[in-house]
Amino acid sequence: MKKKDLMNLTLGIITSIGGFLEVGSMATAATAGALFGYKLLWAIFFSTLGLIFLIEMSGRFAAVSKRALADAVRERFGFVFTIVPRLLEVLVNLLVLAAEIGGVCLAIKLVTGWPIVALAIPIALLLWLVIWFGTLSWIENSTAILGLMTIAFVVAAWKLHPDPHELLRGFVPSRPSEGAAKYWFLAVSIAGSTISPYMFHFYSSGAVEEKWDEESLTSNRLTAIGGMGFGCLMSIGVLIVSARVFLPLHIQVDSYEQLAVVLSPVLGRWGFPLFAGSLGVCCFGAAAELALSTGYLIAQTFGWNWGEDRRPLEEARFSATYSIVIVLAAVIMTTGLDPLKLTLFSMALTAVILPAVIVPFLLLVNDEHYVGKHVSGWIGNTVVVIVVLVASVIALVAIPLELAGGS
């Protein structure tokens, strides 16, 4: 491998690590640890496994077919088939974007005391400015490198010396002794926060913009495995810390204010600022990805010019789309909706719509007309189908139960 390729690969992995944790994965992992100890580690593990395969597939598809995912879905399956899943994806993206903007506002609120409702519009404006003036690599790299502070969760988890046998047991699905509806609801929320469709739309669009080709396939695979694999360690770190700090004290995570103290008993004076910094940076990075991903989704469906590295004048409808989406998301946050509840709900909703997104995707990455000899193997196909089917079936059952207040 050439030195330049090695650098790009390292950067790609760092980008994936730093970009893995965001408001959804933090909230779901922390709640899971506080309520059920290590019993939901399996949900993080299997969701990440599905994500690794999906990210690798989307990068491979873009590199070989020279098309982004949303573009190819319409081309292959037609406008009528595409429109309903697209609308659902855009709606879910909007809710998740609102939650991410809420996460940034919350991080600032924790440190300053300023209310979220007052912060939503300025943060949305900052987000818009970064996307408007920034380039794809600048946005990705800066938020990802700053996001490496989430390694604090892994350090804290290691310092807490969790019992390795108990940890290992957590990687096997089990039935909880009580709170079954909540347990399964959290499992699907973890799946929804990990396997987020916006991530592979963003990844495949980036691959097309950066003009990947068949020579990029090795670094694509390594980025998917290394980046997502290491990133998943951050989520596991959050769960372990929450399990060791909150569970013995019977602290449920009903609000982010309760969550923010989680690192302090372990890391002392560094704990609180590292938590607030991690939350703010990771949510900002995720918000930028979401806004762009939604713009890509709509622009690619209708065949407009798109690309983060182009000037807004050259892609007026794409630029207008992500701008409108940011405004709408900010408005949602000014209504005073509880950010934690919005996060958990939108993650669970993501799990419900996954089959509508993944099935056409799987058909495409196995279509020789698009990928030639680079079709997916049976292992990848099987893992993805199982993870997605199981997640959506559980979501269809668990969400109504959770809404009805069952336990």
Partner: protein, 92 residues
């Protein structure tokens, strides 16, 4: 008559089960906030968290617990709720 009695008994059973679950949820929430307030107080004493954050936790605790008591609860639960509110007020 037998069918109606059966439906009424079933409804009573469901209602009483829901009522028991809500009580448990409220007691769990109170216990959670009590522990949170204690933990934050301890971290504040060790200068690990700033006063502005500690205040937010207290405000959130009071808000959350007060919302719980807009619904009817058993006496023991109410008394525990009052103790948590008193603890929060002391830390304000």
């Amino acid at each position: 008559m037998t069918f109606r009695h059966g439906v009424a008994a079933g409804l009573l059973l469901i209602l009483s089960a829901c009522h028991r679950d809500e009580e448990k949820d409220t007691r769990d929430k109170l216990r959670s906030w009590r522990s949170t307030l204690e933990l934050v107080r301890l971290q504040r004493e060790q200068h690990n968290v700033p006063a502005v954050y500690a205040k937010q936790v207290v405000d959130q605790a009071i808000d959350d617990v007060s919302k719980e008591f807009k619904k009817p609860h058993e006496r023991a639960t109410r008394e525990e709720g009052e103790r948590v509110l008193a603890l929060a007020a002391k830390q304000r």
